[in-house]
């Protein structure tokens, strides 16, 4: 109305202006479209910890164990908070938020007593609550009391029973728990196909009952649901019986049932050829009934082909299937590629010498660009893609470039969400790094390692061992100290049984690759590392243990029974947390590192510790450490100590006795007694070489 009044009265029109003016059309976008497009600007950066964690050096979890603990405890906290809100809901009704946020409000909790009335509304409510068994009980009650229930309700209940296998559906786990589902869910870790259908369960009972009164339309729904349920829970024989019954009674099979049928073909037919025949038969049937296949259909066929491992026709059939899929206008999803890879590489040894993997990567990168730089979840099988492709690229093809390409692809955008749980992620990175450590050079591998560890991937003990191996093979000396701090961060330097070998391996690394060209700086750093190890795992000799025991006994005498028990418990606990077992090998390495940094006291205390506890330590002190300790003591003019060492060398009967004697011999400050001792040692030794040394 206003616009009619407003004339174009501006008298300053110089140019001819068109009377009307069209606004450009607003481009339609969803409410979150801008956020989503901004999201595509951000790529994963290996330095940031996961969003769950606080970003501060003190609080970032680095080892796999810490991450698991933190994320699960956060999930547990959320659950506890939700529980309190639901339990004491009367305290949480004050709503400050405008508009109101429903998920911050207490939920309705399921109260059995509300649902005893046997009628249809109760049934619907129970079904909404996912309490299917209870719903079935109420249903039975309705039948007993002869209360009328509409067909839609009955069939809805029946569908639910088939879908959930006559049981209440499991609660959906929070995402943090879901990530660790493989470890948390003990059953079926190997993912075997097991028949879990409940025979003579509620679903079957209801089926029998409804069969009698169903009209032909309802029969379609009935039979299809039942067959789908049977297939889903892997009861293939009964399902085939039902399918035959359907055919006899001319009940049409719908797409979902066909999909399940194709997926379960490997349970129905034994040999590969018969399986393929079977599938072709049913696909022709589908064509006759003009049912269009969808993505799920094709993925099911691929799945069955994959279960025919080592089938010669497999790859050819798979490729022709891909063509068929494209003709139907269905874009292959990540799940399709996952199955295809497994068909082409059925086990670890066989690799068909095709270039299928790079081709798949090309295809995917093209699709990625086309889809506006994002992939959607289209099928449940998509979760296996990255795991499969990395597995096969590393184990069968052994192609370093391909592996890196796959990794780059996985890191772009939000593709990392296609690795659905922790176990798969571990295996993905394990495979990748195993390959890279064996076949690639440090200039490439170390940056890749640093970009991923420790925030995205916390390596397991095997990979760490391989990594240490890699570093030692390539002699990357500058990295050793950094490696030590990484090991601490990743949680491999602690008291556990497995991790001891890491420490030993690491020390061996420090010592083997040794030599004269080490700078002072590095020597000091290595000695510091040795001291850190000693600090973390303090030496307690047997005598100390005795002392502690005595003290405890004294205390016990003063106490009463109850407190006494507590003391015993603590003592037992201490025993269970076994203290770090030193071995002779470990001690010798530590001695060697410390002596090179001229730290006599520390190394001597280790030396003494060894001899005090010789009976409980495995291995002996080795030659290198003893020689280096000897050299240090001679340099510092501690002749007694030196002689002690030589005597011990003699006891161990090491070859280096001759060198030891020689060294000591050359030293000027030996007085008469010392030389006497030297001579006695020489006499007592059983080594020939020792006797050859000329003693002054």
């Amino acid at each position: 109305m206003l616009w009619r009044i407003f004339h174009r009265y501006a008298s300053t029109t110089m140019t001819n202006r068109s009377k009307s003016f069209t606004y450009p059309q607003r481009i339609n976008r969803s409410p979150t479209a801008i956020l989503e497009s901004l999201n595509t600007c951000v790529q994963t950066d290996g330095g940031n910890p996961s969003y769950l964690f606080m970003d501060d050096p003190f609080l970032i979890p680095t080892s796999a164990h810490e991450k698991r603990q933190l994320s699960l405890s956060k999930a547990s906290g959320k659950k506890a908070a939700r529980w309190i809100m639901d339990r004491y809901s009367y305290a949480f009704f004050y709503d400050v938020a405008v508009p109101s946020i429903p998920s911050y409000f207490p939920n309705y909790t399921f109260d059995e007593k509300e649902f005893i009335e046997p009628d249809e509304t109760t049934l619907y409510k129970l079904m909404n609550w996912n309490k299917i068994i209870k719903a079935y009980e109420i249903y039975k009650k309705c039948l007993d009391y002869k209360i009328n229930i509409s067909d839609t309700c009955k069939y809805a209940l029946f569908d639910l029973l088939c879908i959930y296998n006559s049981d209440n559906p499991m609660e959906i786990l929070p995402p943090e728990e879901d990530w660790y589902r493989r470890e948390l869910n003990e059953t079926n870790q190997s993912g075997l196909v097991q028949r879990t259908w409940k025979d003579n369960g509620l679903a079957e009972q209801m089926f029998e009952e409804l069969k009698l009164t169903a009209t032909s339309e309802q029969k379609i729904r009935l039979y299809n649901s039942f067959a789908s349920g049977l297939f889903k829970y892997n009861h293939a024989e009964k399902a085939m019986i039902i399918i035959d019954e359907m055919k006899q009674n001319n009940i049409s099979i719908d797409l979902i049932t066909y999909n399940y049928l194709l997926r379960s073909t490997s349970l129905i037919k034994e040999t590969y050829d018969t399986r393929w025949q079977f599938m072709i038969e049913y696909l022709n049937e589908m064509k006759q009934n003009s049912i269009q296949p969808n993505l799920r259909t094709f993925n099911s066929i691929f799945y069955t082909l994959r279960r025919c491992s080592l089938y010669e026709r497999g790859p050819i059939l798979a490729l022709s299937l891909l063509n068929e899929m494209r003709q139907c206008g269905i874009e292959p999803s990540l799940g399709t590629w996952a199955h295809l890879i497994m068909i082409f590489y059925p086990n670890d040894q066989i690799g068909y010498d095709t270039q299928i993997l790079p081709q798949i990567m090309d295809e995917l990168e093209k699709q990625y660009e086309l889809n506006g730089k994002q992939f959607q979840w289209r099928d449940i099988d998509d979760r296996e893609f990255f795991f499969n492709i990395m597995f096969k690229a590393t184990v069968n093809c052994r192609d370093v470039d391909l592996a890196k390409r796959i990794h780059r692809f996985q890191m772009t955008g939000s593709n990392s969400r296609f690795i659905p749980d922790g176990f798969k992620e571990q295996m993905y990175y394990t495979n990748m790094f195993r390959l890279l450590f064996r076949f690639d050079i440090p200039e490439h591998v170390i940056p890749l390692w640093e970009s991923v560890v420790p925030n995205i991937y916390s390596p397991s003990i095997n990979i760490i061992e391989d990594f240490i191996e890699f570093i030692s093979t390539w002699n990357i000396k500058d990295y050793y100290v950094r490696l030590w701090s990484d090991l601490i961060l990743l949680g491999f330097i602690d008291n556990k049984q497995n991790n001891r070998r890491i420490i030993e391996r690491y020390l061996a690394l420090l010592i083997n690759n040794d030599q004269e060209n080490l700078s002072n700086e590095q020597i000091k750093q290595y000695a510091n590392i040795a001291r850190q190890i000693l600090k973390r795992f303090p030496l307690t000799s047997d005598e100390d243990e005795q002392q502690i025991d005595d003290q405890q006994q004294q205390q016990q005498q003063q106490q009463k029974r109850e407190v006494n028990e507590e003391q015993q418990q603590t003592k037992q606990l201490k025993q269970f947390q076994s203290k770090f077992q030193y071995s002779g090998q470990l001690l010798s390495n530590l001695i060697y590192l410390l002596t090179r940094a001229d730290d006599f006291d520390a190394s001597w205390s280790l030396y003494e510790y060894y001899f005090l506890n010789k009976n409980i330590l495995i291995n002996q002190l080795n030659e290198i450490s003893l020689m280096s300790l000897l050299k240090l003591s001679i340099n510092q003019n501690r002749i007694d100590y030196a002689l002690n060492i030589v005597e011990k060398i003699n006891e161990f009967n090491y070859e280096c006795l001759s060198d030891a004697l020689d060294l000591l011999n050359r030293h000027e400050n030996l007085d008469h007694k010392d030389r006497q001792r030297l001579r006695t040692i020489q006499k007592n030794s059983s080594l020939e070489s020792a006797h050859l040394v000329k003693l002054v």
Binding site: R8, A97, E566
Partner: protein, 324 residues
Amino acid sequence: MLSFVRTFRQAQRSTGPKSQIGEFRVLQLTQSKGSGSGPMKKRGKLKFKEVPPPRYLRMSTDQDWTNVWPTATTFKQSVVPLPITQGYVSSDNENKGLPVEKYANAELMKIPNFLHLTPNHIKKHCAAIKKYCTPWPEELNSDEACEYYLPIEITTYDYLNSTPSIRDSRARVVKFQFKLTQLEFDEHARDKFVRLAGQKYNADKDELTLIADKCPYRKQNYDYAQYLLTALYFESWKTENWEKDRTKNDWQTYYWDKSPSRTRLLDILKASEKDPKSVLDDNKKLIERYRASISRVQDEGVENELKNLTDYKNDVLMLYNLKL
């Protein structure tokens, strides 16, 4: 790993000499001072894991900052690779006279930082959003064009608070602004409109501003402003009966044609001429000049007062053929 051992405090049985049968056992609820658990147990020192060095030490100089700091967050000193300081030290005793570093610097954490909006960020964001933008219409290529096509300017305000509620009462205000040249007026209507508008009309810019905030909702205020504008406009075109009672004191400008000065002048001229009808035509120029100068004197007020008055004096003298 910490292991906690709970020590119980329980009522203890009598520890005195073995009580004989029949003797009353004394219940001891608390432990007496002497029989504690030996020397006081020191609370074990909590063992924390090693703190790794901050990660800015490991950042390469050619990394992509847009991935490291994608959104607005509080200042994290372990992530920012710059040696930033903030804080005032008043003497050499505080912090050894040095500016305060970024480690645990609360001031740096309190203020907003714009590390999430570096030029690279903005470039990327713009590239990402561009597809939702439409081009600027070509017709609007100058200010006048904008005024021509879009004569009225409606302003509303939106407020964002860091609270769960999105409401803010200041957001109900609606402001309408436009120039009066956009509307069709005759003289009376314009004058009436301006008088009705009062303070809302800005004579320098010839602009009317209507601010509506009476109602609680923005839509209501918008509708009210529309209604107000319509009412003003149509009212200004109406002439009421009482407007006839206008006197010379109410005129907004000096209408010489209606003024008593004209009648007087014509009377004077007619008196001196023989032919009354042709007075106007004969002395047209002089009358015009007289008219112009007296209108200027009346209208322009204080500006140019001296000039106007001298012009008037000259015109009057010319009119009466007087020479001074």
